[in-house]
C-alpha cells in the first residue's frame, strides 16, 4: 500500500513559561490510516493537537495539509481546512439537546431553525455510522459514553478529512470502547484519516496502523503496528532510565491499620465513574505509593479520602472510625493532611501573605490564638508570634525563596508555592498524609529534601499515601505500590518484585493482576 501523507507537521515547538511542551516534533499522517500518539500525561500529545486545531499558536514549525501550507489562528480555520477534533474534556453544552449541540456554530441552517428537519438529518447521519440516537434528548441526561458519541458525531458532521480523537476512551466502558473502535474502522474505510491519542497500550495496539511515542515533548519512537511489541512500547513510554535512579530505603516498622477503604466508588467531574471499587489498607509507618498515568482516578481517590468529594458507594475507616460521612474539618482534626496536586486551586490563597497561608489548615489549633479571658476565641487576636514563627521556620527549613514572610503567595514562583504547601502539611505531624505529586516542579535539592522529610514522617509512625507520576520516586520511597488504571487497582507489588516493563504494561491497562493476589498486600 502506498503511503500518501495527508498531513505533515514539521519541527513544531511550543513553549510555556518554564517548560517546553512540544520539542521539535515532526509528525506525518497518511491518508486513510489510524495514527496513534502514545505517551504519558504531560508528554505533549494534547498540546501538539491543540496547535494543529488552532487553539494554540506554535513558537516554531510549519503545518502542511495535502502539501499546502496552512496557518490556524482559531478552530474555525482548522475546521475549514478539514480538521475535526474530539477534545479530552467535553465541549458540549449540557443544557441543550443533542441536535442543538451538533449544529452549534454551523451557519448553514439559516436564521430560523427547523428542528424537525435537522433532527431527521442527524438521525440519518448517525444511522449511517451505525449509531442509534434520539437527537431531542438533552445532553446532561446522557451517560459519559453517550456524550462521547455525540462529540464524535458533532466533529463528523462537519465533514472533516482528518479526525483527532484525544483520549476518547477515558470515560468509556469496555462495551462503549468496542463500539467506538467499530465506528473508527468504518470511518477509515470511508477514507477518513484519524489521529488517536492515548496512554492506553492495549487499545493502541488494537486500533492503530502506525504508532508514535512521545515523551517529555519529544518523539522517542515511531513504529508500524506489526513492529510494535507491548514491552517495547511500555519502555518507550515510561523510560528505561527509571531503574537506574532507584535507591533503596530502610523498610518500615509497620504498626496498626490507620486507613482502610472498602469498595470506594465515586463520580468524577464529568459524571463518569472515576473510582470503581477501590479497596486498600494503609498501616502506620508505611508509605503506600499509587502509580499510574494521571487521570485514572488518583485525584478522585485523594479527594474522597480527604473529604472534598463524596463517594457514591463504599466506606472509609480511619483508626477504626467510620469517616465516610465526616466533614473535611473533622478529618483535619483527626490528623489527615493533604498536599493537593492542584495547588493554586485548593492549597493556598494567592491574595494572602505567606504567613497566613502557613496556618491555613491549622486554624483549629489553639496555639495560634492568644489566650484572653472573657473574649470568645474567635474574636481573640491571633498569636502573631506563633504564626510568624511557623512561617519563618517553614521558610528556612523548606528553603522557600521569598522576599519576606509577608509576601503575598501569588507573587511566589510555582516551586516555592509547592514548598509552602508541602512544608505546612508535613509540619502538622499528621497521622495520615495524602501527598499528590509532592515533588512536581521542584529542583533536585528540594526534591531530595522533601523525600527525606517523607521518610522522617514515616519513621515517626505517620502513614503516607503517595500519589506520583514519577515512577522512580515511588520505587525508592514506597513500601508498597498499587497501580491504578481506569479507577481500579490493577496491580500491587513491593519495589523490586516487578520489572519496569510489567509496571508499564499495567499502567497502560495491558495487564492486570488477579484480585486475590492484590488483596494479599493488604493483609
Amino acid at each position: 500500500m502506498i503511503q500518501e501523507p495527508i498531513l505533515r507537521m514539521k519541527n513544531i515547538v511550543k513553549k510555556f513559561p518554564g517548560v517546553v511542551a512540544v520539542d521539535h516534533v515532526d509528525l506525518t499522517l497518511n491518508r486513510g490510516e489510524v495514527l496513534a500518539i502514545l505517551g504519558e500525561n504531560g508528554a505533549g500529545k494534547t498540546t501538539l493537537m491543540n496547535v494543529l486545531y488552532g487553539l494554540l499558536r506554535p513558537d516554531e514549525g510549519e503545518i502542511y495539509i495535502e502539501d499546502k501550507k496552512v496557518s490556524h489562528h482559531s478552530p474555525i480555520d482548522a475546521i475549514r481546512n478539514g480538521i475535526g477534533m474530539v477534545h479530552q474534556h467535553f465541549t458540549l453544552v449540557e443544557d441543550l439537546t443533542i441536535s442543538e449541540n451538533i449544529i452549534l456554530g454551523l451557519k448553514e441552517f439559516g436564521f430560523f431553525i427547523d428542528m424537525k428537519k435537522i433532527t431527521r438529518e442527524i438521525e440519518e447521519f448517525a444511522g449511517k455510522l451505525g449509531l442509534k440516537i434520539n437527537p431531542n434528548v438533552k445532553v446532561w441526561q446522557l451517560s459519559a459514553g453517550e456524550k462521547q458519541k455525540v462529540e464524535i458525531l458533532k466533529a463528523l458532521f462537519r465533514n472533516p478529512r482528518i479526525l483527532i480523537l484525544d483520549e476518547p476512551t477515558s470515560v468509556l466502558t469496555p462495551q462503549d470502547t468496542k463500539e467506538l473502535f467499530k465506528a473508527i474502522r468504518k470511518l477509515k474505510q470511508n477514507g477518513l484519516s484519524i489521529i488517536f491519542i492515548s496512554h492506553k497500550l492495549e487499545e493502541v495496539l488494537q486500533i492503530a496502523d502506525r504508532i508514535v511515542v512521545l515523551r517529555r515533548g519529544k518523539v522517542v519512537g515511531e513504529l508500524l503496528r506489526n513492529e510494535a511489541e507491548p514491552r517495547l512500547l511500555a519502555e518507550l513510554m515510561v523510560g528505561r532510565e527509571v531503574l537506574l535512579e532507584v535507591k533503596a530505603t530502610p523498610k518500615a516498622q509497620v504498626g496498626e491499620v490507620i486507613l482502610e477503604i472498602q469498595g470506594l466508588e465515586a463520580l468524577g467531574d464529568r459524571g463518569n465513574l472515576a473510582l470503581r471499587g477501590v479497596s486498600m489498607k494503609i498501616k502506620s509507618g508505611e508509605i503506600l505509593g499509587i502509580a499510574g498515568v494521571s487521570g485514572n482516578g488518583q485525584k478522585e481517590l485523594a479527594e474522597t479520602i480527604y473529604g472534598l468529594r463524596k463517594p457514591t458507594r463504599g466506606k472509609i475507616f480511619f483508626l477504626g472510625r467510620d469517616i465516610t460521612k465526616s466533614s473535611v474539618l473533622d478529618r483535619i482534626q483527626l490528623g489527615i493532611s493533604y498536599i493537593p496536586a492542584e495547588r493554586l486551586k485548593y492549597g493556598v490563597v494567592g491574595d494572602l501573605p505567606l504567613y497566613e497561608n502557613a496556618i491555613l489548615t491549622r486554624i483549629a489549633e489553639n496555639q495560634i490564638i492568644n489566650s484572653l479571658p472573657v473574649v470568645p476565641p474567635s474574636l481573640r487576636p491571633m498569636n502573631i508570634k506563633v504564626i510568624e514563627k511557623f512561617a519563618t521556620d517553614l521558610i528556612s527549613r523548606y528553603s522557600v525563596v521569598t522576599p519576606s514572610h509577608k509576601t503575598l503567595v501569588r507573587n511566589l514562583s510555582g516551586g516555592n508555592i509547592q514548598r509552602v504547601i508541602v512544608g505546612r502539611e508535613i509540619d502538622r505531624k499528621p497521622k495520615l498524609l495524602i501527598a499528590e505529586e509532592p515533588t512536581a516542579g521542584l529542583d533536585i535539592a528540594a526534591t531530595e529534601f522533601i523525600r527525606e522529610k517523607l521518610i522522617e514522617l514515616k519513621n515517626n509512625n505517620c502513614s503516607i499515601l503517595l500519589i506520583s507520576s514519577d515512577l522512580s520516586e515511588l520505587l525508592s520511597l514506597s513500601d508498597k505500590i498499587a497501580i491504578m488504571y481506569n479507577g481500579e487497582i490493577v496491580g500491587a507489588f513491593k519495589p523490586g518484585e516487578l520489572d519496569i516493563d510489567d509496571i508499564g504494561l499495567m499502567m497502560s491497562g495491558y495487564k492486570k493482576m488477579l484480585r486475590e493476589r492484590i488483596d494479599l498486600y493488604w493483609a
Binding site: 465541549t91 441552517f109 439559516g110 431553525i113
Partner: protein
C-alpha cells in the same frame, strides 16, 4: 367590590406590568448569554428622562420611544465595553451603571427643569375595535396603552428568537459553555455584546413606557427599583421569557390592587394600609424566589468573564 373596580384593577395592573415585564425580558436575554446587567434600573431612569425631554421638546411620542431605546442601546454598549471587552467584574460595573444612570438622569432634569413638576401628554390608549367590546374584560384588555400590547408581543418575539432561531441557540449555548462555543467557531465577544445591547434596548423601551404611559412626568428615582425587580423576575422565571412575564403580571396586578384599594382604606379610616398593600408585590417576588429556588439553575457562565485560555 364593583365590576368597574375589578376592571380598573386589571387595566391598571396590566399597564404597570408593562415596564417591568419588558425590562425583565431584556435581562433574561442578556443573562442567557452569561452577562448579568445590574444597571438596568439606571438605564430605565436615563431613558425615562431622555424620552420625557424628547417629548417635551418635540411633542412627538414616537421620538420619545425611539430615543429611549437608543439610550438603552448606548448605555448597554458602554457596559459591554467594560464587562465583555475589558472583562471587568460584571457586578461592580453594573452597579456603576446604576449609579451613573440614577445621578445623571436626576441631575439633567434638575438642570433643565429646576424643581418644577412638568407634565407631558401621555401616550393615548389604543383601542382594538371588536375585541374591546367584549363584556367584562374587553375594556381592560383591549383598550390599553401600546406598552401593554408590546409587552405581550415582545415576549412572544423574544421567546421565539431564543428557542427557535440560530441566534437564540448561540446565545443560550454561550451562557452555558462559552468555551464550547469558542471551539465551535462562534464569536463570543460579538454575541455577548449583541445580547447586552438588545437587553438594554428593551430596558430603554421600558423606561420610556414608564414615563410616557404611566407617570407622564419625571422625578428622581422614578423607577423606585423596578429595574432590580426585573432582575429578580428573571430569576423567578428561570430565565424563560414567558415565565418571567407571569411574574411581571403578578407584580403589576398586586401593585394595582394596592393602589386601587386606596379609596377603600381611606374610607375605613386606615389610609396607611395602602402602604402595607404596596409591600405585597415585593414580598410576593421574594417569596416566589424562595419557592422556586430549589430547581432554579442560572446559566452556568453567568457573571464570569470569558478568556480564551
Amino acid at each position: 367590590m364593583s365590576l368597574e373596580l375589578v376592571q380598573s384593577i386589571i387595566g391598571l395592573g396590566l399597564a404597570m406590568s408593562a415596564p417591568v415585564a419588558i425590562s425583565s425580558l431584556g435581562e433574561v436575554f442578556s443573562e442567557r448569554s452569561g452577562l448579568i446587567n445590574l444597571g438596568i434600573d439606571g438605564i430605565m431612569l436615563m431613558s425615562a428622562f431622555v424620552s420625557f425631554h424628547a417629548v417635551f421638546l418635540t411633542g412627538n411620542i414616537f421620538v420619545g420611544y425611539l430615543l429611549g431605546i437608543a439610550t438603552g442601546i448606548m448605555l448597554g454598549l458602554l457596559l459591554g465595553f467594560f464587562t465583555v471587552i475589558l472583562r471587568f467584574n460584571q457586578v461592580v460595573a453594573g452597579m456603576g451603571l446604576y449609579f451613573l444612570g440614577f445621578g445623571l438622569s436626576d441631575f439633567l432634569y434638575r438642570a433643565l427643569y429646576a424643581d418644577k413638576i412638568v407634565f407631558i401628554p401621555k401616550t393615548s390608549t389604543l383601542r382594538i375595535p371588536l375585541l374591546s367590546e367584549i363584556p367584562l374584560i374587553g375594556g381592560a384588555l383591549f383598550n390599553q396603552y401600546p406598552g401593554v400590547y408590546l409587552m405581550f408581543i415582545l415576549t412572544g418575539i423574544m421567546h421565539f428568537i431564543l428557542y427557535y432561531t440560530r441566534v437564540g441557540l448561540w446565545v443560550r449555548a454561550l451562557g452555558e459553555n462559552p468555551r464550547a462555543c469558542d471551539a465551535a467557531g462562534i464569536n463570543v465577544t460579538l454575541y455577548r455584546l449583541f445580547s447586552l445591547a438588545l437587553g438594554s434596548a428593551l430596558a430603554g423601551l421600558a423606561g420610556a413606557i414608564l414615563c410616557l404611559e404611566i407617570t407622564g412626568l419625571f422625578y428622581e428615582n422614578l423607577t423606585y427599583g423596578m429595574g432590580f425587580i426585573a432582575i429578580g423576575l428573571a430569576y423567578f422565571g428561570k430565565w424563560n421569557p414567558s415565565r418571567s412575564l407571569v411574574g411581571s403580571l403578578i407584580f403589576g396586578v398586586t401593585w394595582s390592587v394596592g393602589i386601587s384599594l386606596q379609596d377603600i382604606f381611606i374610607k375605613i379610616g386606615r389610609p396607611e394600609m395602602t402602604y402595607f398593600m404596596i409591600m405585597l408585590p415585593y414580598l410576593a417576588v421574594l417569596l416566589s424566589l424562595l419557592a422556586i429556588s430549589r430547581g432554579a439553575r442560572p446559566p452556568a457562565s453567568l457573571g464570569k468573564p470569558y478568556y480564551r485560555e
